[in-house]
């Protein structure tokens, strides 16, 4: 029951009728979209005043954590394509939350 079916081809017969893996995948998509909106706001924040060294550094770091979050989401979305996906890894959860916190910290540095 709890044994994952590996990474083989998804068996349509054991697919959850509640479409939980698909819903989870869409939740990741929504989250990457929210991330992108906030990242665009951060770009606007950094380029609002004259492009200072602090602004450009924070901008580059924000872009980096944005890509980091996209990578985590991409890996997870890929692993959700089986019929019985494994639970989210701790590393994935910590990275996703860490990237969000890092963005807030870079934003705070820009605002200050």
């Amino acid at each position: 029951m709890t044994e994952a079916h590996g990474t083989g081809a998804p068996d349509p017969e054991v697919r959850d009728p509640g479409l939980q893996p698909e819903r989870t995948r869409l939740a990741w998509r929504r989250t990457t979209l929210s991330w992108t909106v906030v990242a665009v706001l951060a770009v606007k924040l950094a380029l609002h005043d004259d492009a200072t060294a602090t602004g450009l550094t924070a901008l580059a770091l924000s872009a980096l954590v944005w890509v980091g979050f996209l990578a985590v989401a991409h890996r997870r979305i890929h692993s959700l394509s089986t019929a019985r996906p494994r639970p989210l890894s701790h590393r994935g959860a910590l990275l996703a939350a860490g990237c969000t916190i890092a963005l807030a910290v870079f934003g705070a540095a820009l605002i200050w």
Partner: protein, 130 residues
């Protein structure tokens, strides 16, 4: 508080959770993951709100603007931390077959958001008339 420190240790010890209890139905874990993502989006909304305050209310005094923005950013950071914490604790509770952890955080967060919103209304109204 020691409760928090204890679950903080669990964040970085996935093996310890995996050793406990039984693996729950994968659908429960996925539901827990979606709750985690919903909290991450809440956190992102707060961070985005902080950015928006700084950009779209330039007429405010520097102290008020930065104070509001940093309050929202701090709320966003707290929210992301709590997202991981709640996710870990729910995973553990499901493995042990316990009740899911109850929490005061949603109530506190709503109150904080309400207070910030009120403060913003007051600041914007008085800032633009005075």
């Amino acid at each position: 508080m020691s409760d928090f420190v204890q679950s903080l240790r669990l964040w970085f010890a996935p093996q310890r959770i995996r050793d406990e209890g039984e693996t729950p139905d994968y659908r429960f874990s996925l539901a827990n993951e979606r709750t985690f993502l919903a909290w991450i989006r809440t956190s992102l909304a707060l961070v985005g709100g902080g950015f928006a305050v700084d950009q779209f209310l330039p007429d405010l005094r520097w102290g008020v603007r930065v104070g509001l923005a940093l309050a929202l950013l701090a709320a966003g950071v707290l929210c992301a931390l709590r997202a991981v914490n709640h996710w870990v604790r729910c995973e553990r509770a499901m493995r042990r077959g316990e009740d899911l952890p109850a929490s005061r955080f949603p109530a506190v967060l709503s109150l904080v958001v309400a207070v910030v919103a009120l403060a913003m209304v007051v600041v914007v109204v008085f800032g633009w008339t005075g």
